[in-house]
Amino acid sequence: MVKDPRWRWALAVGAAVYLALALGTLDVNWARVADGLERGARFIGGFLAPDFTTRWRDISQGLTESLTMTVTSTVAGVLISIPIGVGAARNLAPPAVYYVCRAIIALSRSLQEIIVAILLVAMFGFGPFAGFLTLTFATIGFLSKLLAEDIETIDEAQAEAIRATGASWLQLVTWGVMPQVMPRLVGLSLYRVDINFRESAVIGIVGAGGIGATLNTAIDRYEYDSAGAILLIIIGIVMAAEYASSHIRRWVQ
């Protein structure tokens, strides 16, 4: 890749120096780590022998919140993403609309979910409603961007043919564009269900409801067997969602 040997040396030395500096900042408290090894072993034990029952009430409530948040935020996110995605496609939207939609997408994508969740919890209070808003906001950035990119790379000839029949703009979108992007949109929406569920487990840490709050409590109390159970449930649901979505995607093709 790098042709000049001097440059290659300089890069290698630079990388080595950086690595040394970076490792130096780690500042590991070895006594604490040694302490932690025992807890680590307990966590692995908890993961292998999870305890679903003791905290089942908390777990099931967290899970219900997470799943309902996932469904509502994905539906709301998809519904809002479609017009924004169309508006952010250069080949369909007038420049003014294009820039507004692109700005919304950039804003949504550059803010981490967790920071959005903190701000929304501060505004809307604790609980899944703030979580719902966070995930919807994140879904908009994700889906609109990919949808817009997909629309920008459609086969223009098909759209041109529809325009040539004297179709209106809405007909152009629904006949000339939609059939081409629909399979991908369905695929991405299903993928987003998966992501939203995973994220719902995180934003609970800052009070936005969901399984994350339950997990946070379990870890705070060093109840690693309950934490292990929660993690296994998350992994199981993600796997199930991936399996289901691959089937639905094949069916939509």
Partner: protein, 272 residues
Amino acid sequence: MAVTRRADGGFDWRLRTPRQSLAQWALWLGLVALTVWCWEVMTETTIWAFVSDAPRQAADIAGRAFPPRWSYMERLWGPLWDTLNIATLGTLLGVAIALPVAFLAARNTTPSALILRPAALFVIVASRSINSLIWALLLVSILGPGLLAGVIAIALRSIGFIGKLLYEAIEEIDARQVEAVQATGASGPQVLTYAVWPQIAPAFWGVSVFRWDINIRESAVLGLVGAGGLGLQLSGSLNTLAWPQVTMIIIVILAAVVASEWVSAKVRHAII
């Protein structure tokens, strides 16, 4: 889809047969019902007074948050450096683990399709399912607060991402090139370095740099659970309700995210 013949001999056409369109409507109705039901369950505990109060709260916070406290920047250089290190070291560690895992998980390179491949796939799914913040939460509880927990959390989350994309790349390699090298009598490791590696190297570098970019984003907030970096300052400022500092930190995070995206796009462009 249905073409029917009318009594008078003409043809009639509907996109779907009555049964298909009934099924379709039922599907949509089911989806709407599910959403409404989920909404009802989710908002059972919502205190609507808070929600309707939100615009006032938002205005209040915005009023406190601006202008950002620019002078706070001098206290952020250290955490910014920490964040960069968490992301970079975490990515390196993640890559180092993901590479062998990917070879174990790929159908065409796994030494044992019965035991090792499912195990590797489970490692990948487990890592992908759990956000780095949750890994950090766990590791801070196990190892104590600090950068080390952050680095390992980033690494654990990266394994699944890099591993998945990499093993898919390995499964797509051109088998003929591998056969050609095998035909020369090369050993297993030689086949890997001469036939397999050149084919996946671009994907490998591209995926690694892409993950590094994502990791900068994620490591910026890991401090919220005690794993060091900018998030630690954010958490402190939030706890003391120092909103101008919060604004400043968010600006720095945004700048870091944009910068890393730019770097990663440049590097990936240079590779591919």
